[in-house]
C-alpha cells in the first residue's frame, strides 16, 4: 500500500497486470456466457427469461461492491491521506453507476413478463434506485468542485454518509416483505438454486467482477494521467515556459 503511493510505481504495476486481467475476463465471460445462454436449462416457471438473472444478479452485487470499495477508498482519503485512494474512488463511481443502471434495466426487462410491470415500488427496487441517484450525486459533486484536493475530501465525506444505504439495499428483502425474491444464493441451509443454474451464475459473477477490476484499473490510470496533465497545464500557464508546454504535447 505504501509502495503504491508512488503514482509511477502504480502505473507500472497496472500496466503489467492489465493484460492478465483482460485475458482472464475474456476467458471467464466466454465460459460464463456459454453456460448461461446454451448449457443451462430454462426455468420451469420463468422459461428463457431466467437467463436475464446471469447479468442482473452480478450487476446488482457489483453495484453494492463498488460503493463499498468507494467507502474504503474514502477512509483512505480522510484517514490515511493515501494519494491513490481518491483516484480509486473517482474511477469507481461511474463504474458503480453503470452496474447499478444495468441491474435496474435488466430487472425491469425481467419484471415486465414475470410481474406484469416494468417497475414496482418495492423495497429492493426502490433502495437500488436510490443507490443509483447517490452515484450520480457523488459524480455531480466531484464535477462541481474545481480544486482536486478539496473535491477528494468532500466526495469522501458524501460517500461515507451514503454508505448507510448499502445495508438497506442488501437486507431490504429480509426486512420487508417484498415482491423481489429473497436471498436465494447465500443463505442458511444452502442455496435454493439448482447447481445447473448456480454454476453459470458464479461464472458470470466472477467474469463481471473481473471486468469491474479491469475497467477500474484503466480508469485509475486515466485519472492519474489526467491529473498529471492538469498539473502540467497549470504550471505551464503560471510560468509560460516553452519547455513545459512541449512536455504536455508529448503526453
Amino acid at each position: 500500500m505504501i509502495a503504491l503511493a508512488n503514482p509511477a510505481r502504480f502505473a507500472a504495476l497496472a500496466r503489467r497486470l492489465s493484460p492478465w486481467l483482460i485475458g482472464a475476463t475474456a476467458v471467464l465471460f466466454a465460459a460464463g456466457l456459454w453456460f448461461a445462454l446454451v448449457a443451462s436449462p430454462a426455468d420451469y416457471q420463468q422459461g428463457e427469461t431466467v437467463r436475464i438473472m446471469y447479468v442482473h444478479v452480478p450487476a446488482a452485487w457489483l453495484s453494492l461492491m463498488a460503493w463499498t470499495l468507494m467507502s474504503l477508498a474514502s477512509l483512505g482519503v480522510l484517514v490515511w491521506r493515501h494519494p491513490l485512494a481518491d483516484v480509486a474512488a473517482e474511477a469507481a463511481a461511474p463504474l458503480g453507476a453503470a452496474f447499478t443502471f444495468l441491474a435496474l434495466v435488466t430487472g425491469s426487462l425481467w419484471g415486465k413478463p414475470m410481474w406484469g410491470a416494468w417497475w414496482v415500488w418495492d423495497a429492493r427496487l426502490t433502495s437500488e434506485l436510490v443507490l443509483f441517484l447517490m452515484y450520480l450525486g457523488v459524480i455531480a459533486l466531484r464535477g462541481a468542485l474545481d480544486e482536486p484536493a478539496r473535491a477528494s475530501r468532500l466526495v469522501a465525506v458524501l460517500t461515507l454518509v451514503g454508505f448507510v444505504n448499502i445495508p438497506i439495499v442488501k437486507f431490504s428483502v429480509d426486512w420487508w416483505n417484498t415482491l423481489h425474491q429473497g436471498e436465494s444464493v447465500f443463505r442458511m441451509g444452502g442455496s435454493t438454486i439448482d447447481s445447473s443454474m448456480l454454476i453459470p451464475l458464479f461464472l458470470c459473477a466472477v467474469a463481471f467482477t473481473l471486468l469491474f477490476f479491469t475497467l477500474w484499473l484503466v480508469g485509475m490510470r486515466t485519472a492519474l494521467i489526467q491529473r498529471r496533465l492538469r498539473g502540467l497545464r497549470l504550471r505551464a500557464a503560471a510560468e509560460g515556459a516553452p519547455g513545459v508546454s512541449t512536455a504536455i504535447e508529448a503526453t
Binding site: 450520480l136 450525486g137 462541481a144 484536493a149 475530501r153 465525506v157 458524501l158
Partner: protein, 222 residues
C-alpha cells in the same frame, strides 16, 4: 452565556432582522401546496386521500431549497473561520446553526400545516397526524440538509446540487413519516411501528448528521 446559546441567538437574530429567507421558505411551502391541486385537478376526494403526502413533499422541498444559505453567509464574510476557532466543538456549532435554521423555517411549516390541510380537504385526524409527523420529522430533514449545505458551501451551483445530494438520504424519513400519517389518519393500525422508526431515524440524524456536516466543513477548508 454558553457559546452554544450565543451562536443560536446570533443566528436567530440574523434570520429575523436581516431578512435572509425568514418567511420565504414558508411562502414557498404554501405556494407548492397551492399549486399542486391545479396539477391534480380539484377532485376533493383524491386531494383528501393524498393531502398529507402533498404537505410532506412541499415541506421536504421547502426545507432543502432554503438550506444552501445555512453556511454560505458565514463562508462569504469569514465568520465560518471563527466557528473553527471556537472552543465549542464544531459538530455542536453545526447543530446550533441547524437548530436556529429549523426554528425559523421548519417550525412555521408545522404551525401552518393544519390550515393548509383545509385546502387539500384533509380530515381533522389527518391534519393532526401531519402536524405531528412534520414536527418530529422536519428536524431530521434540516440536519440531513446541513450535510448537503456543508458539502456545497462556496459552490456557485450549490443551490441545485444540495437537493440532488440530500433527497436520496431523505427518502427513509419521507417513507416512515407519510406511513405514520396515513396510519393515524386511517384506522390507526400500523401507526406505532412507522412512527417509532421515524423517531429512530430522527434521533440518529440529530447525532450523526452534525458530525458528518462538521467533517465536510473541515474538508472544504483548504
Amino acid at each position: 452565556m454558553t457559546p452554544f446559546l450565543a451562536l443560536l441567538r446570533r443566528d436567530l437574530r440574523l434570520a429575523v432582522r436581516a431578512g435572509s429567507g425568514f418567511g420565504l421558505s414558508l411562502l414557498f411551502f404554501v405556494s407548492v401546496v397551492v399549486v399542486t391541486p391545479f396539477a391534480l385537478g380539484p377532485d376533493l376526494a383524491l386531494l383528501g386521500r393524498i393531502g398529507p403526502a402533498i404537505l410532506w413533499l412541499a415541506a421536504l422541498l421547502a426545507t432543502l431549497i432554503g438550506l444552501d444559505r445555512l453556511f454560505q453567509a458565514d463562508y462569504d464574510d469569514g465568520a465560518l473561520d471563527l466557528l473553527f476557532a471556537m472552543r465549542l466543538p464544531l459538530p455542536l456549532a453545526v447543530f446550533a446553526k441547524a437548530l436556529a435554521h429549523w426554528l425559523v423555517t421548519g417550525l412555521p411549516l408545522v404551525v401552518v400545516s393544519p390550515v393548509l390541510g383545509l385546502l387539500v380537504n384533509a380530515n381533522p385526524q389527518a391534519m393532526a397526524a401531519t402536524a405531528l409527523t412534520l414536527l418530529v420529522g422536519t428536524p431530521a430533514l434540516t440536519m440531513l440538509g446541513a450535510i448537503g449545505a456543508a458539502l456545497t458551501v462556496g459552490l456557485r451551483r450549490g443551490g441545485l446540487l444540495l437537493p440532488v445530494l440530500v433527497l436520496p438520504l431523505a427518502v427513509p424519513v419521507l417513507i416512515f413519516a407519510v406511513g405514520a400519517t396515513e396510519a393515524m389518519a386511517g384506522d390507526g393500525s400500523g401507526f406505532a411501528p412507522a412512527f417509532m422508526l421515524l423517531v429512530g431515524i430522527v434521533l440518529a440524524s440529530l447525532v450523526l448528521a452534525p458530525v458528518a456536516a462538521a467533517a465536510a466543513l473541515r474538508a472544504a477548508q483548504t
